[in-house]
Amino acid sequence: MKRLRYSVALALAVLAVARSAAAQRPITVTGLQSLAFGTLLPGVPTTISRTDPVRSGQFLLTGPHNSQASLVFTLPPALVGPGGALLPLVFGGGDAGYSQSLSIASQVGFDPRQRFVLTLSQRGSGSVFLGGAAQPTPTQRAGAYTATIILTVATYP
């Protein structure tokens, strides 16, 4: 009886090792599309929806099949323009979305300011979408403004 119990324990250990090995498939995060506010006018706020197919920011995630991942955005408070001029950005509670099917039309919304836990699809992929608002001041200096948005993802084996 004792021998049987040890055999089961060893088998579980081997399975756990196999599962751990399978989870070693690396996770990747790729920025596919910029969050583009387009042409703005001083004093006129512009909001981009996460469901905007052309202007929303879009990331592609790949990794272990069906695995959970923790997701954290690093969001800039402003775009930076000519001479260091700052154009304020605002991200709201529903400005990010996740889709296992990679479809912009079937997102689950979440707050990009908070950590979010997601599950990759059976194929080991998912899409993250991001919207937001740009709020130029009435005296905002004309010119091109940019900033970098970083998405950090970690999986749990």
Partner: protein, 166 residues
């Protein structure tokens, strides 16, 4: 199973449990957020359209190229297309008396000149033009007044409005 074997198995299981509780190394991806802020449009009535003295029964025309023609100065985003419309009076007025005005003529140019640009007919219909590389545009306006034979003497005025938008 010997004590040695039990210890080894326990060590293996602890190692597996420990591995399961630790998150994998995080990875980063990035994208750019961008915007292009346009300069606001400013429209200034620089020079009034001035017919100076007119006489009852005598039609008078000010061409857009005359020194007394009206001129609007526009500034905005360099090299950018803008749309414009005019709101034009049908009469100049004075104390309830009307002095008909019409036959509007105009000229639009990126420089302060009535040559090298484009002749236009000011109206409520939308037109378009492109701001210069330095973000300027100039509109010149002329018209014709037709005083009636019995028009009372006095100072007659009206307002011409130019609206410009991106």
């Amino acid at each position: 199973m010997t004590t040695t074997a039990k210890t080894a198995l326990a060590g293996l299981l602890l190692a597996l449990i420990g591995a399961g509780a630790s998150p994998a190394q995080g990875v980063n991806g990035s994208l750019t957020a961008s915007a292009a802020l346009q300069a606001p449009i400013a429209v200034t009535g620089a020079i009034p359209l001035n017919f100076q003295s007119v006489f009852p029964g005598v039609t008078k025309t000010v061409a857009y190229s005359d020194v007394t023609a009206g001129r609007f100065d526009v500034t905005g985003q360099a090299s950018t297309l803008v749309n414009y419309t005019f709101t034009l009076p049908a009469n100049l007025t004075n104390a309830g008396q009307n002095l008909p005005i019409g036959s509007w003529t105009g000229y639009v140019n990126t420089t302060q000149s009535t040559s090298g640009g484009t002749a236009i007919t000011p109206s409520a219909a939308a037109g378009s033009a492109t701001l210069s590389a330095s973000g300027t545009l100039y509109f010149y306006v002329g018209a014709t007044v037709t005083p009636a034979n019995n028009l009372p003497a006095g100072s007659y005025t009206g307002t011409v409005t130019l609206t410009v938008s991106y």
